[in-house]
Symmetry: C2
């Protein structure tokens, strides 16, 4: 498959599987100037799929950098009203939205005042965007564009072709018919999630080297997977790739010790060999061979930061996990193996038990699964049911 | 001067002279993805000049091409409402607007259905943008970014550095202090325009090889030059470069023959050796060694297309004219030498005589001045006063 063909296949996947674009639907594409080739390919694919109008909107971190460096303090967090109108109009038209990730220059803002970097956020836009997602008012997907800066951050050299091959593998572009491969993949994940929801386990337990962790679940909590559905019934797949089935735990009932099985990229700091100890749901001890302070700082952000919000299961069949690299991008890394996240949970997954779902401004996923880590479901009786053994899914 | 330094000096010129950005003012920048380096430099320069917030907005001809090729007919001319809100908000905040030109791929849409290419225009946005300009509700400037595609169209090869040198010369970046050089240049053009307005000539006459043309002027009509002023009194320079002093003529009173002295680029067609004959203000004969039909088609667009709307005087001191190339971009080419435009005139320049100012959907400038073409002002008595002789300005 040539590079053009691969780009087109990727764009088609984003449009057909990610957004599931409907005839006559409006499509917005958000990305950076450096993502132009994928933005253009997605625009073409969206029109080919019947889109009424495609609105490609380019951000530019260099312009933001100029603002952080030279702009007045008072407008650092300003959101131009037209950007809110753009999102609102799209939702009112029952539109679809693609977000392209893949940071072309992770060090771009590193030399600037980090307080101002942090302050330069369009919080009103972020809030509206998140609200539309939570309320299922939009069909949306996040996908990544392999570029030189991102490749350099991973490999130490701008080997874009190598990154492209990994991304293509992760999103199943190497399958004879990627859209069909995704249909089957989505069905498999749905079956796993349904089986977990039906079992109604009281807790999930991880056991492996350095890990013996029990995470209490909420009664009636649901497990979810690849697909989301808009208020008007349009199915879509918000993350490409996605390999996880996930739920939101009882924030009060995490006990034991866990050792991270993959490095964690935390805003420029690489955290290695992270070990956390939990008591009554809360992190009480943090160790790491590198980056422990970055984790401690996050855990101190607010009341909920040191408790779990998410629990996700991924077995060794993961297309991302098989690649074996750290992508330094959560969209990929959280799909490599089983993971948990400290910080915000998902109240919608635990109807009736929202008060015990964690709440925080933080949400950081880190990887705890792997070939040596077994996962069991714990029934109210205390009986254990294998879920993942020897990195293979065994629950049915 | 290194390439970075040159880009910065250009951006500073655009911000300081073109927009004359005020402390706390909002600035919008409109360009294409291919213009990113200049967009970024202008953003920096604007913040450095005290801008409150800089909004860089990228268009993408490739996305437009996808729409022309694959999008539904009904939305080809659709303007997303948020784009109108963006312009309105900026004007309400008394903002400033930079438009970057320099077509990176003049042939991009050539293989598509030209009727659909023509239909794919955001007419509501264009109308609003023009209305804001006409009503002086915005400080604005148009400037060009030298890029490979534009250079290739001119030179047959993508010699961007050569184009950069020409553009730098045209906008006086080669002066020791470009901003200062522009202050003096603007003052000179203002003096010329004031002298012409005070003289109140009845007509302007061009005489040279193949040219003997008299253009009747309107009583009380004003000549204008580089600067414009917003409703709140902010001076700015809408075109970089600019070399002309111009007025809007009496559309009924053009008589004689004129021969173009430079090739005219007309939407992909190069018109050579254009000769027009006028009677009672109207073109009655069109000749050219190439492209005559493209001109004839334009002249047939509407009632006003075959009459003059603009008359502009430029002498041999023009920084653009000295370069001696055709830039295939009106912003430059119309500043090379004296020119006239068939089509729309400028009613604001002839208060009380608006009914005799031309009106049309067309406005095409073509060059008629040069070393062999003398320009005189004709007084009501019939006496002639030299304005440009041997390519030098002589009226004082």
């Amino acid at each position: 498959m040539g590079a053009d063909e691969r780009l087109e296949a990727y764009a088609r996947l984003i449009v057909r599987v990610g957004l599931n674009v409907q005839q006559g639907q409006d499509v917005a594409i958000n990305g950076l100037v450096e993502h132009a080739p994928l933005m253009r390919a997605v625009a073409r694919a969206a029109y080919a799929a019947g889109a009424r109008y495609v609105d490609a909107f380019y951000g530019d971190y260099h312009v933001k950098g100029a603002q952080v460096e030279l702009g007045p303090e008072g407008s650092l967090d300003w959101t131009p009203p037209y950007l809110l109108a753009r999102l609102e109009d799209l939702a009112e038209r029952r539109g679809a939205r693609v977000s392209i990730t893949g940071d072309p220059d992770p060090d771009l803002l590193a030399h600037l005042d980090q307080r101002r970097v942090g302050a330069a956020r369009m919080t009103r836009l972020e809030d509206l965007s998140l609200r539309q997602v939570v309320e299922n008012r939009i069909s949306w997907v996040v996908a990544a564009y392999p570029n030189a800066g991102w490749a350099k951050a991973i490999f130490g050299e701008p080997d874009v072709e190598r990154l492209w091959q990994h991304v293509a593998e992760a999103v199943r572009l190497d399958a004879p018919d990627p859209v069909d491969a995704w249909e089957r993949h989505i069905a498999l994940l749905r079956e796993r999630a349904e089986a977990l929801t039906e079992r109604g386990f009281d807790a999930i337990r991880f056991r492996g080297p350095g890990t013996d962790l029990a995470i209490g679940l909420l009664s009636g909590a649901a497990w979810d997977s690849a697909e989301a559905v808009t208020t008007w019934g349009q199915r879509h797949v918000p993350n490409l790739p996605t390999e996880e089935v996930y739920t939101t735990p009882d924030r009060r009932r995490t006990e034991g010790t866990v050792r991270s099985t993959r490095p964690l990229g935390l805003k420029g700091t690489l955290v290695r060999d992270l070990e956390l100890r939990f008591r009554s749901g809360r992190v009480v001890d943090v160790k790491a061979s590198a980056g422990a302070d970055a984790v401690r700082a996050q855990l101190a952000v607010d009341e909920g930061a040191a408790m779990l919000g998410e629990l996700a299961l991924v077995d060794g069949s993961s297309a991302v996990g098989k690649i074996g690299i750290t992508f330094l991008n959560t969209l990929f890394d959280e799909n490599a193996t089983s993971h948990i996240a400290y910080g915000a949970g998902f109240p919608l997954l635990a109807p009736g038990a929202e008060e015990h779902v964690n709440s925080s401004a933080v949400h950081t996923d880190f990887m705890i699964g792997g070939p040596e880590v077994d996962v069991v479901g714990v029934e109210t009786s205390g009986a254990e049911v294998p879920i993942i053994r020897d990195d293979a899914w065994v629950l049915s």
